[in-house]
Amino acid sequence: MSQQIETGFDPKVEGRDVIVTSVDAAIDWVRKNSCWPMPMGLACCAIELMAAGASRFDIARFGAEVMRFSPRQSDLMIVAGTCVYKMAGVVKRVWDQMPNPKWCIAMGACASSGGMYRSYAVVQGVDHFLPVDVYISGCPPRPEALLEGLMAIQRKIAHEKAVVNMKTGNGPGISTPISGPVIVRGEYAPKLKG
């Protein structure tokens, strides 16, 4: 005797096919499955980032194959590689140009903490001037590790509050990106509200 399993839903509105969920869930689902990365490919990790985008590891199945090199059109900045002080201002400026909501992955040991380059020219971790959401370790991390990091970002996005509740005032609201001279401070780590 075989059981037939059907997918069904219990419509709350009589006579119509309507699914009811919360706005946050819907918007978060849309956001996490179409996270367009801005590859800040600085050094060797960029090659593994490219390999993750190529056919074997296929970042496209996560909705993230559109590597937008323009910060205005991307959501997720993947800092892949060693960030040196000369480049830090550039990375910060590009980060500031990205509109909210935006997330940041520090890919690899060099982006997370300076890696094996304990020297005068290397920023010991991009979290000195960027708010990093996910750190991926490895030198370079395998593309599977990058995909795991992407999935961690997706899990993080899934828990966010996407809209402002007009009655209670909860939620992040829409904040404007910072423009003007780049300010780099060691303690800069804005907290995500909501």
Binding site: R118, S119, Y120, A121, Q124, H128, V182, V184
Partner: protein, 210 residues
């Protein structure tokens, strides 16, 4: 002409400005005095057949006098041989004539030697920093500059002063040094500030006989 003939002709032409060749592992090195380097390079390029400048590097021999040296590595495509020229530069007068008039490719190499050591090249078309940013005040590859760096400014992106931090060396070892038996001396985990590093340089540890 082959390598030996080129060296002989060079010595004939420049006399005492060129030292005797030193050979090590099949390579020949000549020490040339500072004021004759352009003449030597021109001769070697035009008549010696050394048409390619493979490398130009500075070296800091801390503790010796003259402290710096600039090494030119020439290559002859016809003869398939290398020749190294060495110019010693003292700390008080760190200027050498530029060889960009002889080989175009010396341009960036000399800029890097200036950036890393502070050696100036007279006659260089564009002697600016190349690897560090404009306005950086130190010369990183000098022996008295610590690996961890010195706090500095980043002028071009309007950042706060003192945002170039030193790389944290405490909790190491992240570096090692020439073999002494004592691992405390060899892996300096306790030297974290510039003052302590300078202290170590001015009072170098003796090799232990344990």
């Amino acid at each position: 002409m082959n390598l030996q003939a080129a060296i002989d002709r060079l010595k004939v032409r420049l006399g005492d400005a060129v030292s005797d060749p030193v050979e090590f592992r099949g390579e020949t090195t000549l020490t040339v005095s500072r004021d004759k380097i352009v003449a030597a390079c021109e001769f070697l390029k035009k008549e010696g057949g050394f048409d390619m400048l493979t490398d130009l590097s500075g070296v800091d021999n801390y503790g010796e006098d003259p402290r710096y040296e600039v090494d030119y590595l020439l290559y002859s495509l016809a003869q398939h041989c290398w020749l190294r020229l060495k110019v010693r530069v003292s700390e008080e007068d760190m200027i050498v004539d530029s060889v960009t008039s002889v080989w175009q490719g010396a341009d960036w190499h000399e800029r890097e030697a200036f950036d890393m050591f502070g050696i100036r090249f007279r006659g260089h078309p564009n002697l600016k920093r190349i690897l560090m940013w404009e306005g950086y005040r130190h010369h990183p590859l000098r022996k008295d500059f610590p690996l961890a760096g010195i706090p500095a400014e980043l002028p071009e992106t309007a950042v706060n002063a003192d945002t170039v931090r030193t790389a944290p060396m405490l909790g190491g070892p992240f570096v090692t040094s020439d073999g002494t038996r004592s691992s405390i001396r060899r892996e300096p985990r306790q030297f974290d500030t510039l003052a302590e590093r300078q202290e170590k340089l001015t009072h170098p540890t003796k090799k232990e006989s344990v």
